[in-house]
Symmetry: C2
Subunit: 407 residues, 2 copies
């Protein structure tokens, strides 16, 4: 039984341009942490990611949701988590502050993720293992499919999982899930540092890496993109990330000029709410592909992006949408559309290393690669382990989200 609930406002200043992009020049990587203390002695840890300012607001909103779980048994909660998620996310007064977006939805992510963590710890299983052992019906019971009735009913979701689930794919947990390196090309890094980082990443075994673009000077973007391509050769996948910095007319121009270095994708070209701008851009620059989702708050907007056929990689983040539950919902929708899920990792990959294994084994998503951001590793009790460019499969019970000194 969940006896007590706490939230913790945890902030980790970075330094030297790390984490910088075209819009976020000086972030403080922060977690709004929810702790669910069970009478078994176990603690469920979940969090949402922010860039510092306002992390306290997310904590305060998470308090409101977490308090409603006091006295509940985690197995009972998770047996029907979809309806609990639905109730919490539609709590009638709080709902006005979204609905299903912004501070309140980030807070729900923290609470949801703490529930999944506690659930796995009580079963003594790493989260990925718990999730792949669930039946299609059990999975769908953890999801809120409301406002998706036109695309994905519970019956359709069960059928989709049933058709795609293949436990023989668990073999991937022996070899590890491929990673890619986000940290070679932060926005504030000078050209020379990017060149060195790209070389190091290739030497470390990465076959995919990301460069931040979205400069006020498009020539800078194009120069740096070509520079990375020059260092890596043709076989490495290079992703370009504009972090919403372009207007649609700018994106149409610059993306056209970036096509020649063959980016694997162009990420967040413009505002994350602007489905129609993405649709126009995707048409104009086909077959160059777009990736987005880092700032998309919920399953409904993801549905629109998929319907509009302009998101070629879905970067849903379980510490931005309403936690693991909505992450799985979005992954199901993406599977229906045949679109890969490549999460943004506000959690530094700790939680998502579990979720991509589930997506691959139970939903049949391709095991493409998972973003890797090393900046907060020393703060986790069980930091992700990357060897030769692959994530080694976590074996400890839970979702790998426990933070040092946070109790």
């Amino acid at each position: 039984m969940i006896q007590e609930t706490f939230t913790r406002d945890v902030r980790y200043p970075l330094g030297h341009g790390a984490g910088s992009d075209a819009i976020h020049r000086d972030p403080v990587y922060s977690y709004a942490v929810t702790l669910l203390k069970d009478d078994s002695g176990l603690t469920g840890t979940g969090f949402a990611f922010t860039l510092g300012e306002g992390n306290d607001l997310v904590c305060k909103a998470a308090d409101f949701y977490a308090a409603q779980l006091k006295g509940r048994d985690i197995e009972a909660v998770m047996a029907n988590f979809g309806s609990i998620f639905h109730r919490l996310s539609n709590e009638q007064q709080f709902r006005w502050l979204g609905p299903h977006k912004g501070v309140v939805h980030l807070a729900l992510a923290a609470v949801t993720n703490a529930c999944y963590d506690l659930w796995a710890k009580k079963r003594g299983l790493p989260l990925w293992k718990l999730l792949i052992e669930l039946s299609p019906e059990q999975i769908v019971n953890t999801l809120d499919l409301s406002y998706l009735e036109d695309e994905l009913t519970p019956e359709q979701a069960i059928a989709l999982i049933t058709a795609n689930r293949d436990l023989s794919r668990e073999a991937i947990t022996k070899t590890g899930y491929p990673g890619y390196d986000t940290s070679i090309g932060w926005f504030n890094y000078p050209d020379e540092q990017i060149r060195e980082n790209a070389k190091k990443a290739v030497a470390a075994g990465f076959t995919a890496m990301k460069l931040k673009v979205g400069s006020s000077d498009p020539e800078r973007d194009i120069r740096r993109a070509n520079l990375v391509r020059e260092v890596t050769g043709e076989d490495v996948k290079i992703m370009l990330d504009a972090n919403q910095q372009w207007t649609l007319p700018q994106a149409l121009d610059i993306c056209g000029r970036l096509q020649q270095m063959q980016p694997y994708w162009i990420e967040e070209p413009t505002h994350p709410d602007d489905v129609i701008a993405h649709q126009q851009l995707a048409k104009a620059i086909a077959p160059t592909k777009l990736a987005l989702g880092e700032h998309v708050p919920n399953r409904i907007i993801f549905k629109n992006y998929l319907q509009a056929a302009c998101a070629h990689f879905i970067q849903v983040d379980a510490v931005r949408v309403g936690g693991v539950s909505e992450f799985i919902t979005v992954s199901l929708l993406s599977r229906k559309y045949g679109v890969p899920v490549v999460p943004h990792v506000g959690d530094m990959g700790q939680l998502h290393q579990h979720l991509v294994l589930f997506n691959h084994i139970s939903l049949g998503h391709e095991a493409l690669f998972l973003e890797h951001i090393p900046h907060l590793q020393e703060h986790f009790v069980h930091p992700v382990q990357i060897k030769e460019g692959v994530y080694l499969t976590p074996q400890e019970p839970g979702s790998s989200c426990d933070l040092k000194h946070i109790v």
Copy 2:
């Protein structure tokens, strides 16, 4: 010069089912109030509207924005408010919590509205009068048109105002702006009360009124809609408001069956983020019209709704989007598309009575009617005055948003 800034968390419990709709069963009408104390002795008052829980979060976020205006002269601030709005709404760490939506954007509304209020008070003018006296260039300087470059550049905005502005329309301030009554048909009211309220509204001179629908029992919705039509006769405009309660398949079914009582519009049929669902619904039930915007947080999503041709009435609310500035931006976009603006009035019409006059006189929007919700009148220093169904034009300096006992 703005010497000090404060926020106030003000909540007004309602009673007896007032304010209830299909989703919000028991709201507490609340304002997150920003006060800007000027060294002239004047105080600018602005607020965002919430339903109670979390109003404190909006206040806390507003503190963050308001503090950045300390020491500034309000005339200087407003001379270039568009760039200040742009900077505040993209503050790099806070932006993560949106962007441009949820708690942080509501907070920005409160601060923005306090700026406009202080501006008008310092000029000794009611806000509508100040706004209509601005030149097209001055208006556009108060707006942030970023992410609208594909639809509305500053030059296009100036041209649009220049082509539509007609100060002879100020005549409407003598006769008053038409109102409509939202309070006849709250969701929890029994049939008999709705019948009586509709009769009273007709007797009071209203020629338009609204009924809440979105019941779990569609027969209840249809019965009550027909009942109001029966009481009012054919000439009264009846708006039906589902408050997002329907799934798309339900909306397609029920809206089809509601067409026969000839609703003037059907409001918020489903989730406010679901542009494509609204597009499909609008096509299916044409020529029946849809109204939406109460929960749409920013100009970018409004742009998508207009581009998708599925919002026939734009219900932008200046205490939901980023305040008066973004309200005007959305009104300009709507004007470009020839779509009427009929604001949702989280402010109970206090602020919007000024803005609809501006929209009519300076932007050439039709003077259709403005929602009227009487529930908080006793709390305002200068409550709206309605006579025979029209809003009498406010004459006091400012935006009519001062609340009693809030200093």
